[in-house]
């Protein structure tokens, strides 16, 4: 799975820490998500998509 989190963070001027604070996770979790080394739970994927005002499938793309 690939994610557009890094690109969307840059668009919205959010740091990894900002995003982690908004969705209530550790910074490492955002790092692993951006690297594609972790598949988030549906709730976390939903929360992250909501921050960027996008649909889940637009942020997390299954290859």
């Amino acid at each position: 799975m690939i994610t557009r989190i890094k690109e969307l963070r840059a668009r919205d001027n959010l740091t990894q820490i900002d995003l982690a604070q908004k969705v209530g996770v550790r910074r490492e979790t955002i790092v692993f998500l951006e690297k594609g080394k972790y598949n988030p739970s549906l709730k976390l994927a939903h929360d992250i998509s909501k921050i960027f005002n996008m649909k889940i499938e637009e942020v997390f793309i299954l290859e």
């Binding site: 982690a20 996770v25 910074r27 979790t29 080394k37 598949n39």
Partner: protein, 145 residues
């Protein structure tokens, strides 16, 4: 606040471990038996791990982040599962290799059995700590989710 308390608890645990290992060294007969170095080394590793995780918790507290989230819970579960698997193998190897080696004299047998049990259990803890650090470093990929 919760993160800061957790960090302080971890630093206290590390301090207690260091004090205990120091006291253990002080009251051990000299010259030190080889086993003492193993026990002290094990306690130092535990203290270092407590300090490392305590510093991580303190950093998270300063940044206003959660100390524990879904990934850290998954990492702990995954590390525990792997550590259990490898511990079973470890005990099978220990028992199959050492069972015939233990002396028949009852006092010697008890002493040797104590050393084997303590070493095996210490190895189980070390395997868990190693697996946890490993998954913290590499993450949990698609195939392992």
């Amino acid at each position: 606040m919760k993160a800061r308390n957790l960090a302080i608890t971890k630093f206290i645990v590390a301090g207690v471990l260091l004090v205990f290992s120091g006291a253990f060294f002080m009251q051990s007969p000299k010259p030190f038996p080889e086993l003492i170095f193993g026990i002290a080394g094990f306690m130092l590793i535990l203290a270092m791990f407590a300090i490392y995780t305590g510093m991580q918790a303190l950093r998270d507290a300063k940044e206003g982040l959660n100390v524990e989230d879904e990934l850290s819970k998954k990492i702990s579960e995954k590390a525990a599962a792997k550590a259990y698997k490898y511990s079973v193998i470890l005990w099978l190897v220990i028992l199959s290799l050492l069972l015939d080696q233990l002396p028949l004299n009852s006092l010697e047998t008890v002493k040797a059995a104590k050393i084997v049990v303590v070493s095996g259990m210490s190895a189980m803890v070390l395997i868990f700590l190693f697996m946890r650090l490993y998954y913290q470093k590499v993450g949990i990929g698609d195939h392992e989710n």
